[in-house]
Structures are given as C-alpha cells and as structure tokens.
C-alpha cells in the first residue's frame, strides 16, 4: 500500500478518504484537517488566547499538540476527577494526570489544574451517587462549568475541546433517536461567546478517533489508553458501536451524517434552541454563572455531593447508576 501524497510505503489507510498515508504525510493530513475546521467555522481569531481542556487521553493531548504546532497561544486545563483513586482501584485519574503533566513538560506548555476532591470536596463517583446523577452526567456538568469558569478567570478568548467526528456523530445519533430538538439546535462545532460564557470550539470535528489515536502514536505522544471505568457500557459508547458497524460497510457514513446535518438540517433546529434559552438566563445566586434557575446545576451538584447526610447514604449502599454493580469509592 502506497502513500497517496508521496508514494512511499503507507502506515495507515483511511477508507473514508479512499487513501493511505506514510507517517509524515499522515501528520500533514491531520494538521490540515484541523486548520480547515478552524478556518471553515471561524473558531479562533488571530492573537486570541486558547484554553484547551485536557484529560490525558488521545484527543485532548493530540489537540493541544496540533494547536501548538499550528502556532496558537494555547494553555491546558486538567480537571482531576478522583476516579479510581481509592486503595486497590485502577488509579485512573492519577494516571491521566501523570500523562497530562508529562506532555506539558515535554512541550514546555503551561498547564493549569483544578482537582475536584481537593478544591471542591468531592470526587465524581461519590458525588454522582450522592446527587443521584449518572457519573458521566456529573463529570460532563463539572467539566463544562469549571472549564468555562477557568477561561473567564484567566482571560482566555476560547475554550477548545477534543470532541472528534465520532463523538459528534454519536451525540447527533442520540439526539435524533429521541428528537431532542433543543439539543439539535445547539450541536455546532462553535458555540459563540455570550454573557458569562466563553466561546467553545471543537477543532477535531473533521478527524475520527482512529485518526487521533494514530496521530498520537506517530507523534510519540503517550496517552492513557485505558477507558474511564465509569464510562463502561454507557449509552454513548453503544451509539459509537452502532455507527462503526455502519461505517465498516459504508466508509464515510459518519462524516456524511454529521456534516450533512450541519449543512442541511442544523439551521432548522436553531430557533427551537434559541426559544428555549431566550430571556431565561440569570446569575446563579451562589456562583454568578448564567442559569435558568435560582442556583446553577453545578452549584446544586456540589451542594448535594458534599452533603453529609447524602454521603452517609451513599457509603452504606450501591450507587444508583454507577454501572455493573460497582460501588462508590
């Protein structure tokens, strides 16, 4: 198999592009896909400061590396979630933090850190159980709130996340299955800045998970390969599995599903999402972040996750939705 660009021996085939690449040409291809996404969706302007949300995984470390190589001013923010950090547990959060710090040190990049257990008094497994939320839901809520807050505090113009084509196609699939029209109206590669919200961008939307993993291997970036133990068997992974079965038979299906949605259907749902939000936001009485209620969802999660009575109940019994009979830490 030959590289499409230079005719040297290829190391990876990309069926959806009907192409194969050698290592240097694949790295070039990856950078060009990110450059194209940033330009096409006007994600980052000249001179803007970017905060990239990093987890120690292939997508976020790969994104940080790509943005640095493309010449952007990028710092990283790592959020310690306290997952698997009990005695005899997997050590998932400890490992992911170590990969992130090693990358930042190797690239000489600036890393900021927030640690949920130390700084806010709860870890994701226990907090989710106490608040009676699924772990992935409590984790996602914490990330959205804390990344935005850190960006505002640090004077960043943009928060960049490592959501790739597979992530976006899987979320779209889930939203279409349930016709979540307000979510469909907001599922965009760029969420513009608004009062209390920094602009959020997804520069990896043109790249698959496989491409991002390949990028890290070929660039020599060490990342945490093990899956988050809380995500095991979740709905999102099921959607990815279903879409990959389609992709296997019809290369390019995921790309077409997501990008044709953006081109032909996304606009139709935007008024529904806007109506949902219009005039409804006010400052959270606890932290000041924009919210539709008296207290924002994150402050409500923190209150529940650190409530001694709820924690006592959690420590006595199994988690509600921790998955596969797992007990909280």
């Amino acid at each position: 198999m030959k590289c499409r660009r230079c005719r040297e021996a290829a190391v990876i085939e990309l069926r959806r592009h009907n192409a194969a690449f050698c290592a240097p040409c694949f790295l070039h291809h990856t950078r060009e896909q990110v450059r194209k996404a940033i330009d096409e969706f006007e994600m980052i302007g000249p001179g803007e400061r970017v905060l990239v949300a990093v987890s120690g995984g292939k997508d976020s470390l790969g994104l940080w590396d790509l943005l640095l190589d493309l010449g952007y001013q990028v710092d990283g923010l790592y959020l310690g979630l306290g997952i698997g950090d009990g005695e005899g547990d997997s050590g998932y959060s400890r490992s992911s933090g170590a990969y992130t710090r090693a990358f930042a040190a190797a690239r000489g990049a600036h890393l900021r850190e927030v640690d949920l257990p130390t700084d806010l008094g709860f870890d994701v497994p226990t907090g989710a159980a106490a608040a009676r939320r699924a772990p992935c839901s409590a984790c996602g809520l914490s990330k959205r709130h804390l990344f935005n807050a850190a960006a505002l505090e640090g004077g960043y113009d943009v928060v960049a996340t490592g959501h790739n084509l597979d992530d976006e196609a899987a979320v779209l699939f889930g939203n279409v299955l349930r016709w979540n029209t307000d979510y469909l109206g907001r599922q965009l590669p760029v969420l513009p800045a608004a009062r209390g919200f920094v602009r959020k961008v997804k520069p990896l939307v043109r790249l698959s998970e496989r491409e991002m993993a390949a990028y890290c291997v070929l660039k020599g970036i060490d990342y945490i390969v093990e899956e988050c133990p809380m995500a095991d068997g979740n709905r999102h992974l099921g959607y990815k599995e279903a879409l990959n079965a389609v992709e296997e038979r019809s290369p390019g299906a995921k790309h077409a599903f997501y990008f044709e949605f953006l081109a032909k259907a996304s606009e139709l749902f935007r008024p529904l999402a806007a109506a949902e939000q219009e005039g409804a936001l006010r400052p959270c009485s606890s932290c000041g972040a924009p919210t539709t209620g008296e207290v924002c969802a994150f402050c409500s999660l923190v209150a529940r996750a650190t409530d001694p009575e709820r924690l006592a109940t959690v420590r006595l019994g199994p988690t509600r939705r921790g998955g596969r009979g797992r007990r909280s830490a």
């Binding site: 198999m1 190391v11 984790c139 959501h163 496989r210 993993a213 390949a214 291997v217 995500a231 999102h236």
Partner: protein
Amino acid sequence: MKVLLRNPRREVEVPGPLRVGALLERLGVSRETVLVIRGDTLVPGDAVLDDADTVEVRPVISGGQQ
C-alpha cells in the same frame, strides 16, 4: 506472533504469516475501532505479520457523555 490486546490487557499467540486485516477478522475486531502497532509505528491492513512479530491491537474508542 504475539498479539497484545487491551481492556482487559492480555496477550494471545496467533500463528503467522497473516495479513493484518485477516488477524483482525480472526480476533472479531472491527478495523474502524483499532490500530495495529508494531514497535513505534502503525501497520496497515495489507501488511503481512510473521511468527516472530509482536503487535499491539489498540482500541481507539473512548466514551463519556458531552
């Protein structure tokens, strides 16, 4: 050849010579969901693996909600 698999981490022996595509079929793994790594580089689907090779079949799918 030695094949390293993840989640859970384990090692299996598979007789060579064998093309990468055929190895993945034998393991029942979709090629959209893994990379095959030999040393510090990737191996494409049409490459032939020998008995002496050691390869890692690394999953690329990660979960979590947004």
